[in-house]
Structures are given as structure tokens and as C-alpha cells.
């Protein structure tokens, strides 16, 4: 590999045969797909198709870093996973912070590709040049925290970075997560179930090879500029929000615009939001600040509950988990939310899909469509925290009604039937995250079009949330600022979501954290281009237009993955609730999501046929994907 930033090698493990290969990272892959998400997209396109069973041996799990991973560029501490999703049956991806990603790079690998299926539980050990499979029968059944400790003890060094699945992944809970470094989750789309299906319990990595960049002087200049932006230009904005409160500071801010899901997305405003907000957490429970590798934002934190049934020290929940276990279920008891979030991490489940599937059950219960007979006697009244805690445990072990929740809201509602399908709040099978397209129109478009289903991290615009007018003007022109910063306006939003989808895809390929690219909107394509060119020495990326084209290539090929699975425009939609039921309360009262007004613009911006949602042949050719042209309509 002649490019800097990369390790230049990757690991391929076939668990069926137990064979392990160390291969060269192809230069063309690095140049055309950059890293992280881009690597995952290209590999899954080539090696998985519409016949692949997500829980079968032919599915691939790609665990990838990017050219910035492990460097001093701020918040370059994440890794990206991709596989066909057992929850949705289509494109799956998840991304996690902590320290595992950089350590993989330090050991000298850009990526790990897992295929096949082991007969017995194993874990993978990567110790610089030594890569081997170890027996995992003694950790099978253990929580992610226990597994991390035991694996480190096995290996005699607590500095090994470990990513692991919990009982939920082993039991093929369809939204099982991968948890690394004690509580960092690669949560969405069931990557933990993919590992479980392959009988791969964990990956432990330790490395001392380090990362070198192509142009030291230029790279450190870029790093210094990035520090200046985050610590000075955006310093106060960052310190007074994410650093001080973590993502829970969104609870109050998002409730204020009427976009915080309450009671299974029934409404977007909760009078009791302050009870579960960032200020309440900080004042009553927060004991320590935490951080992922190399980050200046440092949104992680720890809490301590001193008494009561949920006493203990926990990693603080994120905004999404607080909504998922809190307002979505009408639970305003923070210790119960901490406990639920901790259980999700320990047992290895996505807090969003888990909470939102329970929210479906609670609404069905309220409407009398689900009874004690279905739930094994569990009372699923709104706000019943004890039942929720019990149901979370049952879900991980697929016990009783937990076995229904474990299927995710789409399948669960099909199993129960009786019209409960209407209350399953998902798109393409993925539970809707903590936004509401009725209060924030472009977030509805994001949920409808994101490749992995109803997700926020694919393209969510924060320009409207806090009115980032200067940013909107700089990026898109003064004349569009009013519409772009108005959450209830649909004009220009198709173009905006397309632009951000490209931006975040590149962020996930380099890889840098969403909390300096998306919210707050600090880094844009030009910053990314400078960092990528200096780190790798790929001169063509000095031109920000080149990095936009690479991003479009990644997003378009990802979209083609779903097209190959049979998805079309009709699938880019939202549950009826968002399209037909006007928001009942709060600042956005009376609004529905006017999705169709934005979709045509989105397809045009994306270079797709507005009738089918399929990328046009012209788009495919422009992005160097001409061999795909004409094959799908």
C-alpha cells in the first residue's frame, strides 16, 4: 500500500474451516471507497446478494476502520460494521466508538471480514501479527461486560480491546448489538445476531504497529485547524452542550421543538421531559466525564444511583436510549432508564429497537389488542418500569413474550396480528429513532430514505434544530437560509438530505464521529478533503469535489444493494401515523409529514429515477459503477 493512513492489510476469517488469511488492502479499494463504510459497501455488494440468508454462513460481517482511525484528527476513534441485516433483511450497518477501532488499526489491520459459521463458540484474538481463534465455550452465555473481563484474563492483559456479543446475540435476537470497551454499542440492524449466528462471541485486539500518515507537516496542520475549530470557533457551543451534558442535552432542546417521541411516537412533546433531561441527569446523578479515543467533544459520562432498586454506577445513556426507554414508554424515572440501558448493553441489544418494540407492545396493550394471555401475565401499562425491566431480560433470552419482542416490531406485530401492525413504528423493518417527521420535516425524509431503515445517523439535518443560519448560508447560499432552518418547511429538504447523506457516509468512511460532522455541524467536505489528502497522500482528494464523488459512489452502491433486494420508491415511506395523523400536542401540533413534497427532490438530487427510486444509468456511469447499469429497473 503506497498510501499513508492505512495499515495496508486486512484479516479474512472463515469460521467454517477455521482458516485465517492476512491479505493486502487493495489500493483501488482505498482510492475509490476510502475506508469504513465504503469498504463495507463494496465488499457486501461483491460477496453477498439477494439470496443470502442474514443468519446463514454466507453472510459477511465487515468490521472496518478508515484512513483517519487512530490518528490525532479529533474523534477518529470509531469503527464501522456492515452485514446483511437479520432484522430487516436488507442493508445493515452499525458504527461504534470507544477504543476498539483504533486498536485494530494499531495492530496493523484496516479491516476484518468474517464469513462462515463455526460449530463451537469461538473468539478471535488479534495480537499484532498473531491472529488466532480461541475456544469461547466458557464465555458463551456471559454478558458483554463479563466477556470482556474474562477474555482479558484469558489473554493475561487488561489492555486488550474487546468487542463482544451478549446472550441476545447468541439467541439471535434480531436487533442484537455488538458492545465494545464496556458499553459502547454498535447497536442497529442486528450485527450482534450476525456474530451469534456465526458462533463468534468476541474479538480481542492489541497492537503496537501504530499509524503513519503520508504528509506529516500537512496532516498536523489539518489537526491543529480542527482543534481550533472545535475548541475555539465552536468551543462554547460544544462545551455547553455535549461536553457538559452529553447527548441528553438534546432531550430539552428537541422537546422544545416538539420532535421528541412520546408514547410510541404518538406525539412529539412531553410535559415531563425535564424529569429525564440532561440537566436533571447532571444535577442528580452524573459523577464522571468519559470519552472515546482522541475526542475533544467527550460526550460520554457516568452516573451513580445511590439508593433504591436500581442503585449502582452506570455508563450514562444517550439521548436515543432516554427517549426509547423513557418518553416512548412514559417512564420518567431516571434510575429505571439507567438500568434498562445498562441491561441492553450487558445483554447486548440495540436500545432503540428494543425500547421501540416494547412501545409497540404497550400501545397494543392499551388498545386491548394485546392481553395478559399474550404477555405471560406481564402488565404492559404505560410507565410500568418493572415490567419493562423484566421484559428486557426475557427478550435477551427469548423467554415467553420476550421471544416475540426479540423479533423486532415488524415481525412481532405480524406474529400477534389483530391490527397491531398499525402500531409497529418502523421503516423497512428498522424501528424509528427519536425524531418525528411531523415536527421536523426533513427527519421524516431521512427515516424514509435511509438505507438501513428508519435511522437518524444516515442523513439527519440539525440545521433546523437550533437554527444554524450561518452554516446554512455558507454551505447552500443566503437565499435558502429561511427554508433550510425552518423545521416545518419542505422546500430544499430533498437536496439537503442528499447532501448530508453523502457527508455522513464520508464521515463513516474516514471514520470520524457524527458529533462533529452532524451535530454540531463543524466539519464539511472541504475539511474532510484536506484531512484525507494529507493522511493518505491521494492528491486527487485535495479537490473537495473528488471527495463528494467518492461519497456519492458509496451511497449509490449502498442504495443499489437494497435495489437488488427488490426495494423501490414504495418502500421509502413512513408509517401512517406520520403521514396521516396530525401531531396531537406540542409546538408542532396539527402537522403531518409532507413526505411526497420532498421525495421527488431527493431522488433528483440523488440521481435516481423519481418513479422507481433506482439510480439512473447515467448516475451509475458517472460514479464508475457503469457495470451495474441497465440491470435493475
Amino acid at each position: 500500500m503506497r498510501y499513508g493512513g492505512y495499515a495496508g492489510r486486512y484479516i479474512r476469517v472463515d469460521l467454517s474451516s477455521g482458516s485465517i488469511g492476512v491479505l493486502e488492502t487493495p489500493e483501488s479499494l482505498a482510492r475509490d471507497y476510502v475506508g469504513g463504510l465504503g469498504f463495507g459497501v463494496r465488499l457486501l455488494w461483491d460477496e453477498v446478494d439477494e439470496r443470502t440468508d442474514p443468519l446463514g454462513p454466507d453472510n459477511r460481517l465487515v468490521i472496518a476502520t478508515g484512513p483517519l482511525t487512530g490518528t490525532l484528527f479529533p474523534a477518529a476513534g470509531r469503527y464501522q460494521m456492515a452485514a446483511k441485516s437479520p432484522l430487516t433483511g436488507i442493508w445493515g450497518q452499525s458504527n461504534s466508538g470507544g477504543f476498539f477501532g483504533p486498536e485494530l488499526k494499531f495492530a496493523g489491520y484496516d479491516m476484518v471480514v468474517i464469513q462462515g459459521r463455526s460449530e463451537r463458540p469461538v473468539y478471535l484474538v488479534i495480537d499484532d501479527d498473531e491472529v488466532r481463534l480461541a475456544d469461547a465455550s466458557h464465555v458463551w452465555g456471559k454478558t458483554t461486560f463479563e466477556t470482556t473481563d474474562i477474555v482479558r484474563e484469558d489473554l493475561g492483559d487488561e489492555t486488550f480491546k474487546v468487542m463482544a456479543i451478549g446472550p441476545a446475540g447468541e439467541n439471535l435476537v434480531r436487533f442484537a448489538a455488538v458492545i465494545n470497551d464496556a458499553g459502547n454499542a454498535g447497536g442497529r440492524t442486528g450485527m450482534g445476531a450476525v456474530m451469534g449466528s456465526k458462533k463468534l462471541k468476541a474479538i480481542a485486539v492489541r497492537g503496537s504497529r501504530g499509524v503513519r500518515v503520508a504528509d506529516d507537516g500537512a496532516f498536523m496542520e489539518v489537526v491543529d485547524e480542527a482543534y481550533e475549530k472545535l475548541q475555539v470557533e465552536w468551543g462554547e457551543a460544544v462545551r455547553e452542550t455535549l461536553t457538559k451534558y452529553g447527548t441528553p442535552n438534546l432531550v430539552e432542546a428537541i422537546n422544545a421543538i416538539g420532535r421528541m417521541p412520546v408514547k410510541n411516537h404518538w406525539t412529539g412533546y412531553w410535559e415531563r421531559a425535564d424529569e429525564i433531561g440532561g440537566v436533571a441527569i447532571r444535577e442528580r446523578y452524573r459523577v464522571k466525564q468519559g470519552s472515546c479515543y482522541g475526542c475533544l467533544v467527550q460526550c460520554k459520562y457516568y452516573v451513580e444511583v445511590r439508593e433504591g432498586p436500581f442503585a449502582g454506577r452506570y455508563k450514562g445513556p444517550e439521548y436515543e436510549a432516554i427517549v426509547s426507554f423513557g418518553s416512548s414508554l412514559l417512564i420518567d424515572d431516571l434510575p429505571a432508564i439507567f438500568r434498562a440501558n445498562h441491561l441492553a448493553d450487558a445483554l447486548g441489544m440495540d436500545s432503540i429497537s428494543l425500547g421501540m418494540t416494547i412501545a409497540w407492545a404497550m400501545e397494543s396493550w392499551e388498545r386491548g389488542l394485546l392481553t395478559a394471555e399474550d404477555t405471560g401475565g406481564l402488565d404492559l401499562s404505560w410507565g410500568n418500569a418493572d415490567s419493562v425491566i423484566e421484559l428486557i431480560e426475557k427478550t435477551a433470552y427469548r423467554e415467553g413474550f420476550g421471544g416475540v419482542i426479540a423479533e423486532g416490531s415488524r415481525r412481532a406485530s405480524q406474529i400477534i396480528g389483530r391490527g397491531t401492525e398499525k402500531y409497529a413504528m418502523h421503516v423497512k423493518g428498522l424501528e424509528i429513532s427519536a425524531q418525528d417527521g411531523r415536527a421536523h420535516q426533513s427527519s421524516g425524509l431521512t427515516h424514509a430514505t435511509a438505507a438501513r431503515g428508519a435511522d437518524h445517523l444516515t442523513s439527519l439535518s440539525c440545521l433546523e434544530e437550533r437554527g444554524y443560519e450561518r452554516v446554512a448560508a455558507e454551505r447552500y447560499g443566503e437565499d435558502k437560509v429561511r427554508e433550510l432552518t425552518d423545521p416545518l418547511e419542505t422546500k430544499y429538504k430533498g437536496w439537503l438530505v442528499k447532501d448530508l447523506e453523502d457527508l455522513y457516509a464520508m464521515g463513516n468512511s474516514l471514520i470520524i464521529c457524527w458529533y462533529e460532522v452532524g451535530w454540531p455541524p463543524v466539519f464539511y467536505f472541504d475539511d474532510m478533503a484536506r484531512a484525507l489528502a494529507a493522511a493518505t497522500g491521494m492528491e486527487e482528494y485535495r479537490d473537495p469535489r473528488a471527495i463528494r464523488i467518492a461519497a456519492e459512489r458509496i451511497v449509490t452502491l449502498r442504495r443499489m444493494f437494497n435495489v437488488r433486494e427488490g426495494l423501490r420508491r414504495k418502500d421509502d415511506t413512513l408509517p401512517e401515523r406520520f403521514l396521516r395523523e396530525p401531531m396531537p400536542t406540542g409546538p408542532a401540533r396539527g402537522n403531518v409529514c409532507r413526505l411526497d413534497e420532498m421525495l421527488d427532490d431527493y431522488y433528483r438530487a440523488r440521481g435516481c429515477d423519481p418513479e422507481t427510486g433506482v439510480p439512473t444509468d447515467e448516475t451509475l456511469r458517472r460514479l464508475g459503477l457503469g457495470d451495474l447499469a441497465g440491470r435493475w429497473r
Binding site: L72, G98, S208, R212, G290, L296, K315
Partner: protein, 165 residues
């Protein structure tokens, strides 16, 4: 030679475990981002949020200097330095230091230690939380007093009724 009247001060309470210090140190000394080659190491228990950066304390009565048979380790002002030209790699210093302040590089397997980056320690320069700072030795006590005073005033404010009961 660095300005020797200044010392590295570590405050574990402020450390968030981000390891920027390790990346910056390894880059400064080896031109690569490689925390395992860093002279400063953050010890951590992630599940509880306990983080302690460990680095050479530049002791006033350094046991490493005492243990060194060749004079490779020596004091200069308020700091301890390693003269590699005199070092015979006997590692007596590594055993003698109670803080792990002298270590062995995992790549060269040679004895290494903090050299204060020639007077501008990168760990302190990059630390985003102020957990590591490079300050005048005679002001450390004063700064601690200030922090103590802040803590005290916070406690006092807790017992002062702030209206409304």
C-alpha cells in the same frame, strides 16, 4: 534543555481517558500514532469511569537515577533525563521506579522515558480537559488551593438555602 522550573502535573479527576496524550506523545517521539509507544499511559477501568494518566514524576529524589550504574539517567533542574549514549539497557531503572515512569519500548525493546518534549510536552499541550498540565513548580500548591477553594465554595452553597426551600 527545557525550562526546568516547570513540572508535569496530573489530575486524575479531570482525566476522561481519551488517550490524546498517548497519541500525541508517540507522534512526537516516533512520528506515528501508537499509544503503546507513548511515555505516558492512561490506566483505566472503563466500566466505572476510572482513568489515571501515569507518566514519569521527575522525582526530586529519583530511584531510577540511583539505580542507574552508568550515569545515563541524570537530574537537571527539576527533571530527570536519559542519555541514551550511556545507557547499557540493563533495565535496573525500570525495576526501581515505583510508578512505571521508565519503560521499555515495545518495538525497539529499549529503555525509554519522558523527556518533556524538550520543554513543550505534547501531552499537556493537547490534553482537552486540563488533566495534564505543565506548570511552574512553585505555583502547583497555589493552584491546588484554588481548586480546593472552589470545591469548598460549592459545598458551602449547598447548605445555603437558595430560596423556595
Amino acid at each position: 534543555m527545557p525550562a526546568v522550573d516547570r513540572i508535569l502535573v496530573v489530575d486524575p479527576e479531570r482525566c476522561t481517558g481519551c488517550r490524546i496524550c498517548e497519541a500525541a506523545c508517540s507522534y512526537q517521539h516516533y512520528g506515528e500514532f501508537n499509544p503503546r509507544r507513548s511515555y505516558i499511559t492512561v490506566l483505566k477501568r472503563e466500566s466505572d469511569g476510572l482513568f489515571v494518566p501515569m507518566v514519569c514524576q521527575h522525582c526530586a529524589k529519583p530511584l531510577c537515577v540511583e539505580a542507574c550504574p552508568t550515569g545515563a539517567l541524570y537530574q537537571y533542574g527539576s527533571a530527570v533525563f536519559l542519555d541514551k549514549s550511556k545507557c547499557i539497557e540493563c533495565r535496573q531503572c525500570v525495576n526501581a521506579c515505583p510508578f512505571g515512569g521508565v519503560g521499555i519500548d515495545p518495538v525497539t525493546l529499549q529503555v525509554v522515558k519522558c523527556d518533556l518534549c524538550g520543554g513543550d510536552p505534547q501531552c499537556a499541550r493537547r490534553c482537552p480537559t486540563g488533566a495534564i498540565s505543565y506548570v511552574r513548580a512553585d505555583l502547583v500548591g497555589y493552584r491546588r488551593k484554588l481548586e480546593g477553594a472552589e470545591r469548598l465554595s460549592r459545598l458551602t452553597s449547598l447548605i445555603v438555602p437558595s430560596g423556595g426551600g
